[in-house]
Amino acid sequence: MKKSILIITFIILTIATSFFIYTLYLNNNSKNDIKKLKSDIQENQELINDKIKNKEQLEKEYKELNEELKEEVLEYNLWLEMKEKITK
């Protein structure tokens, strides 16, 4: 009787401890996931910032080129218009 109580007690304690360790493990995992997500977000934000900077430069370059090649653009558009008239 005494022995069986001891065995049951031991089993209950073992299960409780294991479950405790398992929750610790889960917590640790989720913390790592959070860390990774935060770092991914940071990384993506940096990339976005780079892209925004790049976009500003590209927009500036496009604007300058467009101004510089104004006549050539008009000429191109005129031929495009002729093409449309023929094909439509």
Partner: protein, 311 residues
């Protein structure tokens, strides 16, 4: 008795210890589960944020790529315009065939200007630019070194201006001497063609192979076939005209020129003859363009492959 009591006390202590341990474990397990739940919520929020960031990054990427494409298009615009021009000529060639075979109801008009460049040519170019029309200039070379005009003392730069404005530059012989030596022999004629070809090449870098006989091909008389044979050997094509405003002869007013011009428009493919030395033609040009556009004509510059070019 006392032993039994001690034994019972031990059991009670063990039970208390057991419950104490279990309670502590349960408390920490509960705490861990609560943390875990919170973490999971944070993970969901962070995942959403990350997805948004990825989406934002992709949008930025697409926008930047579109801008890069536009920049590359601008950097290569001259090459792309040349390619587009070739494409337009190919499409126009097919359209001409469809018009001839009555597969299309569209109409094409080729505006052509003879005997320039003249001191008025830049004004013709301005009107054409204003109406977004490309035309063909059949140029001659003699007496063109001086253009006594307020804007330009020289006519030669006008050859380049014609080409730079996207018009077709073509050959009308160097001398245009209809009543002189031009039609005296095939050799004379071909020499004048070559001389003008060289002048155009020298002034614009363009080698033309489209010709209009001064006075029209019938002016060549008996020499016509022989000249055409020589032109073929030199890969030249030639074209007369199907409509005109009479500005090569004697027209006295804009109204008369416009009336003559309108009456001469009957075909689905028209080659219109004008002269860019004529002030009356200059004044009627906007109305002529509007008239053709209202009648549904697509205005194009001539190109060698056109069915209107005799080869």
């Amino acid at each position: 008795m006392a032993r039994n009591e001690r034994k019972n006390n031990k059991v009670i202590i063990v039970i208390i210890l057991f419950f104490a341990i279990i309670s502590i474990l349960a408390y920490f397990i509960y705490e861990n589960i609560e943390h875990y739940k919170n973490n999971q919520n944070e993970i969901i929020k962070l995942t959403t944020t990350l997805n948004e960031k990825i989406e934002e990054k992709n949008t930025s990427n697409t926008e930047n790529n579109e801008l890069l494409e536009k920049i590359n298009h601008l950097k290569n615009i001259e090459k792309e315009t040349t390619e587009l021009k070739e494409e337009v000529f190919n499409l126009a060639k097919n359209l001409e065939q469809d018009i001839i075979n009555k597969k299309s109801t569209k109409k094409i008009a080729y505006l052509t200007f003879d005997d320039g460049p003249y001191y008025l040519t830049h004004k013709f170019l301005d009107v054409l630019e204003q109406y977004n029309v490309k035309a063909t200039f059949f140029t001659i070379g003699s007496d063109k070194k001086k253009c006594y005009d307020n804007r330009s003392k020289e006519c030669y730069p006008l050859y380049k201006k014609i080409v730079d404005s996207g018009h077709t530059i073509a050959n009308h012989t160097y001398s245009h001497a209809i009543w002189g030596s031009l039609y005296k022999s095939t050799n004379n004629f071909i020499n004048q063609v070559k001389k003008q070809e060289n002048l155009i090449k020298e002034q614009t870098g363009v080698t033309t192979n489209i010709l209009r006989f001064p006075g029209g091909s019938s002016t060549a008389g008996k020499l016509k076939n022989s000249i055409i044979n020589e032109l073929r050997k030199n890969n030249y094509g030639w074209v007369d005209w199907t409509s005109q405003n009479g500005d090569g002869g004697s027209i006295s007013s804009k109204e008369q020129a416009l009336k003559t011009f309108k009456n001469s428009i009957n075909e689905n493919i028209e080659v219109v003859l004008f002269h860019d030395y004529n002030n009356i033609t200059l004044s009627m040009l906007p109305d002529a363009i509007k008239h053709l556009e209202n009648k549904g004509y697509i205005l194009l510059p001539l190109f060698y492959e056109s069915v209107m070019i005799n080869k």
